[in-house]
Amino acid sequence: MKRILFSLMAVAGTIFTVQAQSDQYKSAMKQQVALLDSNSTFTVGGMQQLANTFERIAEAEKTQWLPYYYAAYCRVNEAFMTENKSKTDEIIDKSVLNIEKAQALKGPDSEISCILSLIASARIGVDPMTRGMKYGPESAELLETAQKQNPENPRVFVLKGQSAMYTPEAFGGSKTRAKEMFDIALKKFATFKPESDIAPNWGEGYVKELIKQVQ
């Protein structure tokens, strides 16, 4: 009887541990995800720090796609903001490693396609004259894929608008189109329900900033 009791207790102990870990994961993620849309973290250093934290969580968990996803997102932002262009490619390479791991765990996903599109755009920044021809259309194609995978994903339209806004007009950019995209994004944000409180839901604040610039 006591043996049984002991076994039960032991099982309870294990469950408790697992539960504690999962809680630790959720609370750590929640805390970091909350920092994503804040202006104070949207700097090279801030993004680097967040990416580092997400990478630590990702490498400790190994089976969760979200920490890899966020690590990739923060890295690519770090790459966009890095002033030393000779380092940009290496930072992007790190982002690629993370998003590939996320994709291996999650499978094809609209949010992942969005990051892949951002990565292609970041590659252009290193040398727009020679890389624009290759990565511009690649980035656009990835957004089409993202849209097919989830037409309700507002981030697809944030990125489409952003791309239209920053592409020179001769290469198909347009401020009016950017605004159209941002408007769609805002509508989609209003109805978008993230899968959980730590699932991707960034971009609404950012798009409101951008929309002011294309008015």
Binding site: K2, L5, F6, M9, A10, A12, G13, F16, T17, A20, Q24, A28, G45, Q48, Q49, A51, N52, T53, E55, R56, I57, E59, A60, K85, S86, K87, E90, I91, K94, D127, M129, T130, R131, M133, K134, P137, E138, A140, E141, E144, Q147, P168, E169, A170, F171, G172, R177, I184
Partner: protein
């Protein structure tokens, strides 16, 4: 028997474990003791960790205890893992080593200018060649703005460091190209046959090039054909002198692609508007086509098939130099086909194989007549068939070093007939080569190679050793040295008549310094070249010619100082003399100028999407032969200094769904006299200046490209 306390303990164990905490702190630097910020420091397998501060310091608490692994990672550095016993307060002094990537590694650089999108650290991008003003999309004309090349306008080819145009060979995917230039008229340079858009990489070597290539005494132009396109596209070009259409189709699985391009040009309407030095009697027309098929045979394998052909004809009527008041007519019709098949595959274990085969045939029909004078017009019928096979195996040695071995075989069938006089020959040429790039350290590399050649027409063999060294002084700059022996058969036009000859030989010594930063590039090079066994035609055909060339060259490129401006300046000083062909003794040859300089300027105006480019070139006078001077003053006359300014304007826009570029280009905008040399009549009483057909050439064109990309459609459907 467990006490309730024990049970309680078991349940609470995880909490107790969490409750203990240790502070991990320390400082992190690079190998040179400079603090590193942004390093991700973590306890492996836990969330615990932090990012290092600006001064490289870090500190965090962890509940982990016992022997754990601490990791430190930062972009651009090798990740560090150390085992540590976590317990008492600990101080860690961590040192990260930089990763070695392409940017930090030294590269073989002496004598070569590379334009590539794929490789970093190159001086140029393929786009730079296309956008160089005054070059009109001709690879060789664009490369003439680089140090080492002469401004020779009356003959085709790259005249490099005291070498003739025929001393520069063109290679496509490793294979030598026979007739890389279209057939022109004497004293007027013809254009290259290959569009710069066909290549993803272009390397112009002004000396000391790799053992993989041979038969160029001075220089090699190494072209690498493009792989699969990024996406399908269509193109359309409308020009003042003709038009072009092209298709490049990529399969849905992105594993194969095919494409073709056709262009037609007819210069007669243009010649009606812009008067030429000579009167066109046959409307200058050209028709070019090219088609290609590229197949990814596996993850690492690539098969490429490329066929290009061209047909062109023209004819001019000019004043006769021999018979004053009479006219001289020159007409030519040329047909050319070039095919190239290549296959690359990785064989595992660091081995790679590259097989290639190419075939070309060139036919010229030339008609020359001094109307009313010579007994009968001269008709030249010439045909060159050239086939070759090539195999190269390469093997990675360790992390960066590489070994390449290979062999090639060429078969040339050369025929030519002047009226009924035939002069034909065939030649089998074979070569075997081996070369190793050995990285002693990532900063110090040596390339050692040798090449063995045999050619049946001369019944002669040669062994050509070559070596290069490069050492990186710091992250941005490096020094390099090169030495090599280079052999070349005498030109076909002499071999046709006399074959009891030997190879001509040149020995190169090069020292160079370069500094490449994100926006600035500087290169300085000095060289010494010795010519041996050059071909002599007077008093008889022999290999007793000699010569030398030495000089210094500078290159400076700046993409930052002026907003939206990219410019480069090159300067070459050349001191060369040679005794060859009919020269009586060693003199500075007629294709060599002592000082040559170019300024290539590209200005982008984003507000109106305008690209403005200008190329200014300068060269001091070149020697020319004046028969009225005594033998002791052979080649003592000099032409006038050459100054020319080329201009182009590109306007980028979109028409419908096509990305469109409008191009306007003018060569020699200022109309400076282009004096390339002089031709004398046989009695020495009259002479003609050698120069371009017209002072300027105008070109207006519109090029559209349509990518199959469904962006717009998808948006319209919403």
């Amino acid at each position: 028997m467990l006490k309730p306390f024990a049970i309680c303990f078991l349940i609470l164990l995880p909490i107790f474990l969490r409750a203990q905490s240790v502070t991990v702190k320390g400082k992190i630097t690079d190998a040179k003791k400079r603090p590193l910020a942004g390093v991700n420091i973590a306890i492996k397998g836990s969330y615990d960790g932090t990012t290092s501060a600006k001064d490289g310091s870090f500190s965090f608490t962890t509940s982990a205890t016992g022997e754990r692994i601490i990791t430190a990672s930062l972009t651009g550095f090798q990740t560090l893992e150390i085992k540590a016993e976590l317990g008492a307060l600990q101080d860690f002094n961590l040192v990260l080593k930089e990763t070695v990537n392409e940017l930090k590694m030294v590269t073989i650089s002496a004598g070569s200018f590379e334009a590539s999108d794929e490789k970093k650290n190159t001086m140029l991008k393929p786009l730079d060649i296309v956008t160089t003003a005054g070059a009109n999309g001709d690879i060789v004309s664009a490369l003439k703005t680089l140090p080492g090349a002469q401004q020779v306008g009356e003959k085709e080819g790259l005249f490099v460091r005291g070498g003739t145009g025929t001393e520069t060979q063109t290679f496509i995917d490793g294979m030598l190209v026979r007739n890389p230039f279209s057939t022109g008229m004497p004293d007027f340079a013809a254009r290259g046959r290959f569009s710069p858009f066909l290549f993803k990489g272009t390397t112009f070597s002004s000396g000391g090039y790799s053992s993989l290539y041979g038969q160029g005494l001075s220089s090699a132009l190494i072209l690498e054909s493009t792989d699969l396109p990024e996406r399908s596209s269509y193109s359309l070009g409308v020009m003042t002198i003709g038009g072009s259409v092209g298709v490049d189709k990529l399969s849905n699985d992105k594993k194969k692609a095919y494409g073709f391009e056709v262009d037609y040009a007819n210069l007669s309407p243009y010649f009606k508007l812009v008067k030429q030095k000579q009167e066109p009697v046959v409307a200058p027309q050209s028709l070019n086509f090219s088609t290609n098929y590229r197949l990814k045979t596996s993850k690492t394998g690539m098969l490429k098939l490329f066929v290009t052909g061209s047909w062109n004809k023209f004819g001019f009527l000019g004043e006769s130099l021999e018979y004053p008041g009479e006219k001289e007519e020159f007409r030519v019709e040329n047909k050319y086909i070039y095919t190239n098949v290549s296959w690359k595959e990785s064989l595992g274990n660091g081995w790679r194989i590259q097989l290639g085969s190419s075939f070309s045939t060139n036919r010229d029909k030339i008609y020359m007549d001094t109307i009313n004078k010579s007994p009968q017009p001269s008709r030249v019928n010439a045909r060159q068939d050239f086939s070759q096979f090539r195999a190269v195996l390469s093997k990675n040695l360790g992390k960066f070093s590489m070994l390449r071995v290979g062999s090639e075989f060429q078969y040339a069938d050369e025929r030519s007939a002047l009226n009924n006089m035939h002069a034909d020959y065939v030649d089998s040429y074979s070569a075997t080569f081996a070369e190793a790039d050995i990285y002693f350290t990532p900063r110090f590399v040596g390339r050692f190679g040798t090449r063995f050649e045999y050619t049946s027409v001369l019944k002669a063999a040669n062994i050509a050793p070559r070596a290069s060294l490069a050492y990186k002084l710091d992250a941005k700059s490096q020094v390099a040295f090169a030495y090599g022996e280079f052999y070349q058969k005498p030109e076909q036009q002499y071999l046709r008549f006399f074959r009891d000859l030997n190879y001509q030989r040149a020995t190169h010594y090069i020292a160079s310094y370069q500094r490449v930063t994100e926006f600035f590039t500087f290169r300085g090079e000095v060289f010494y070249k010795e010519y041996h066994d050059l071909l002599k035609t007077v008093p008889s055909f022999n290999n007793n010619g000699t010569g030398y060339a030495k000089g210094a060259e500078l290159f400076w490129r700046d993409r930052k100082s002026i907003k939206n401006v990219d410019y480069w300046v090159s300067y070459s000083y050349l001191d060369t003399k040679r005794d060859y062909l009919n020269y009586p003794y060693e003199v500075q040859p007629d294709f060599a100028a002592n000082h040559t300089a170019s300024l290539v300027y590209k200005h982008y105006i984003p507000s109106v999407q305008l690209n403005i480019g200008a190329t200014y070139t300068f060269a001091t006078g070149r020697p020319y032969y004046n028969p009225n001077r005594p033998r002791s003053e052979f080649m003592q006359d000099r032409t006038r200094t050459l100054n020319t300014l080329g201009l182009n304007v590109n306007y980028l826009t979109t028409i419908g769904k096509g990305f469109t570029v409008f191009v306007l280009s003018i060569t020699n905008v200022l109309g400076n006299d282009q004096e390339y040399g002089f031709r004398y009549s046989s009695d020495g009483l009259r002479r003609n200046m050698v120069g371009p057909m017209a002072p300027r050439f105008f070109f207006v064109g519109m090029f559209m490209s349509f990518g199959i990309d469904r962006r717009q459609e998808t948006i319209d459907r919403q």
